[in-house]
């Protein structure tokens, strides 16, 4: 998963949802941030940078040639 969310830390302020340029995140039924469109993520890191609760970690995918 590109965007990891620590649900224990998330307070559901919605900053990540509003600032995501690709609408990857939404607030779920209990108001916490959750990944809806993982494939749309461009790993810009806007959500992690401005999450006031340190709930988000953006994990950039490792390229195949680097793995080898």
């Amino acid at each position: 998963m590109a965007v990891e969310i620590n649900r224990r830390y998330c307070k559901g302020c919605g900053i990540c949802v509003e600032l995501c340029p690709k609408s990857v995140l939404v607030l779920d039924e209990i108001g916490k941030s959750t990944v809806k469109n993982p494939d749309a993520c461009i790993y810009c890191g806007q959500c992690e940078l401005r999450c006031p609760d340190y709930a988000i970690t953006v994990v950039k995918p490792v390229k195949k040639e680097e793995k080898a």
Partner: protein, 275 residues
């Protein structure tokens, strides 16, 4: 949370108690990243805070920390720096704490040019006590104690710091979190009194009272109203209306207080030779 940020925060104290959408968490991360970037020794770094929402940050940061009396963060920090000049002392304070009850300490710390770094979490309101207006609440903005709008003009804290003698003055915002890291780095590196005024959002009191919308919208307001100093010079005055400057606003050289004090001690020791 990235590993680097995790290392400098006390995991047992998290999640923090700040309200959903509060900018304090963003600012605290930028300060921690700045400390990491310079590579300060955790054991030789002291975080001092006063009272207020922002001042809770000292409890979350994994350094030598002191949570002091209201408005007196700079006073305690001055004592620490004078006793142990080799320590890096960073003061975390809010707009009310620093400019109302601590206003006198603020101008005199600037006047002495003592080597402290002061980060002001400027959300323009007293959040912890229920949304009263502070000396940095803009004119005509609403607060619980100013339901018809604030009649008092606000300080321009950066101009106040420059006039009082601070040798490094910058302004950032919670939105420009990446830029804030660099400003705090320069503030820490400056040997003298450094001030970083950080415009932040209080969605619960300031935002609600002034109908600014969600925390995300308040961050976008900061983006739209901040004017980098480099760009401001090229703009006509009418285009600068209603905007505030961000970036490095002032840098100068002046004798630093603890260095001068050290010289005095050496001079006094010299006089006593041979007796």
């Amino acid at each position: 949370m990235s590993e680097s940020v995790g290392k400098f925060l006390r995991q047992s104290a998290l999640p923090h108690i700040w309200c959903p959408g509060c900018g304090n968490g963003i600012i605290m991360r930028s300060v921690v990243r700045a400390i990491e970037k310079i590579g300060l020794d955790q054991r030789k770094t002291v975080i001092v805070s006063g009272i207020g929402c922002s001042s809770r940050s000292s409890g979350y940061m994994n350094f030598n920390t002191v949570h002091t009396a209201h408005g007196r963060a700079l006073t305690f920090a001055t004592g620490i720096k004078l006793a142990r000049p080799e320590l890096n002392v960073i003061v975390m304070t809010g707009d009310g704490d620093c400019t109302a009850i601590g206003g006198n300490h603020f101008i005199h710390s600037a006047r002495r040019n003592i080597d402290l770094t002061t980060v002001i979490f400027n959300n323009g309101i007293y959040g912890m006590t229920g949304g009263q207006y502070s000396p940095l609440t803009p004119f005509s903005a609403k607060a619980t104690t100013a339901p018809y709008g604030n009649l008092e003009r606000n300080f321009d804290i950066a101009q106040l710091a420059i006039a009082a003698g601070a040798t490094y003055v910058a302004r950032g915002t919670a939105y420009h979190a990446q830029m804030l890291v660099d400003l705090v780095v320069k503030a820490i590196e400056n040997k003298g009194f450094s001030v970083v005024d950080v415009i932040s959002q209080c969605p619960v009191y300031y935002g609600r009272k002034n109908k600014m919308g969600s925390a995300g919208k308040m961050l976008l307001w900061q983006r739209d109203h901040a004017l980098p100093v480099q760009a401001a010079d090229k703009l006509e005055p009418e285009k600068r209306q209603g905007k505030f400057l961000i970036g490095e606003l002032h840098k100068s050289e002046a004798p630093e207080y603890t260095a001068e004090y050290e010289k005095l001690i050496e001079a006094a020791k010299g006089k006593g030779d041979g007796q």
